[in-house]
């Protein structure tokens, strides 16, 4: 790895460890097998959002050309959000693409991703299905996001009705994640989700 990238990540790591956010538990940063090219981030779901109470893990890959190019970041924890792919965890955020600036750090990027959870951009979606639900039925979107937070990120609120419906599909021999995606996509209408899965 290029010298400047490794040195900067080391300095950043020190900065993050001293930061208020780490002390307050809202973000976390860890090394993955002691290399400076791969890290694991963690953000807490912001209060007053469906993600509240959840803990979301992020995969961070630092390119050779860092900080002149942005780090590659995706959600490892599954999440229902218009700007994150519900399948791959890919994030649509301008500062991770064309609005990157070399003075941004892993700390500021993690805080930006956390801010994205509080303020989605449905007009610049990563996941068109999620964005459509967000625009057309925000209440159902909030419930779905809360359900995903409960199941995948350790959030506190279980949605009993949704769990029941997933169980119905599980009993038909369908994979759990697949069942959840299908139900979420078809606004929790069991019939349409089943039809889709078996067509």
């Amino acid at each position: 790895m290029a010298n400047i990238a490794a040195k900067r990540i080391k300095r950043e790591f020190k900065e993050v460890m001293k930061s208020e956010e780490v002390a307050g538990g809202t973000i976390k940063l860890e090394l993955v097998h002691d290399s400076w090219t791969e890290l694991q981030g963690e953000i807490a779901g912001p209060p007053d959002t469906p993600y509240e109470g959840g803990t979301f893990l992020l995969e961070i890959k630092v390119p050779e050309t860092y900080p002149f190019n942005p780090p590659k970041i995706r959600f490892m924890t599954k999440i229902w959000h218009p700007n994150v792919s519900s399948v791959t965890g890919a994030i649509c955020l301008d500062i991770l693409k064309d609005q990157w600036a070399a003075a941004l750090t892993l700390r500021t990027v993690l805080l930006s991703i956390q801010a994205l959870l509080s303020a989605a951009e449905p007009n610049d979606p990563q996941d068109a299905v999620v964005a459509k639900q967000y625009r057309e039925d925000i209440q159902l979107f909030n419930l779905t996001a809360r359900h995903w937070t409960n199941v995948y990120a350790g959030g506190p609120t279980a949605i009993w009705e949704f769990n029941q419906k997933v169980q119905v599909l599980l009993d038909m021999g369908i994979d759990e994640d697949q069942a959840r995606v299908a139900l979420s996509t078809f606004d929790w209408e069991l019939e349409r989700a089943t039809e889709h899965l078996f067509s």
Partner: protein, 147 residues
């Protein structure tokens, strides 16, 4: 009428110069707002590098106080160290900022933009400024009539 060409961002044809019909078509589309969707967006990728001339002429200053660091490599500046200063007063190691400005044209800290050598990008910036100016003029006109 001197202001007309200026306002539209056009210029008069030179002697013997033929009109460029493709350009007129493009202007037609532009003026009638068929491109609104496209135009509302930002430059679709990272803006081009700063012009080499500008980078070469950025002033060098000497660090006089303690505690500041280079926003690119995050290393602390030593007192007496020579650094490069952007027009927005942000200071960087000369090598750090030259690599960045060779990628894109703005201050990594505050996004202050330096000129580029890219004609297409410069045109995009001029158009954007012009449409912002138009909006502002409209607002002023509106306020003068209705407030």
């Amino acid at each position: 009428m001197a202001g007309y060409f200026e306002e539209m961002g056009w210029r008069e044809l030179e002697d013997g110069e033929q009109p460029d019909h493709l350009l007129h078509m493009a202007r037609f589309i532009f003026e009638f707002g068929f491109n609104e969707d496209f135009n509302a967006r930002e430059w679709p990728k990272l803006p081009p590098p700063a012009s080499q001339e500008t980078v070469k002429n950025l002033p060098e200053t000497t660090i006089e106080s303690d505690g500041k660091s280079c926003p690119i490599c995050l290393k602390k500046f030593n007192i007496g160290e020579k650094v490069t200063e952007m027009p927005c007063n942000h200071q960087y190691h000369t090598t750090c900022i030259s690599i960045w400005l060779n990628t894109t044209n703005s201050c990594p800290f505050c996004r202050y933009e330096l000129p580029t050598d890219d004609e297409v990008y410069e045109q995009f910036k001029r158009n954007k400024k012009r449409s912002e100016q138009k909006q502002e003029d409209l607002a002023v006109l509106h306020n003068s009539m209705f407030s």
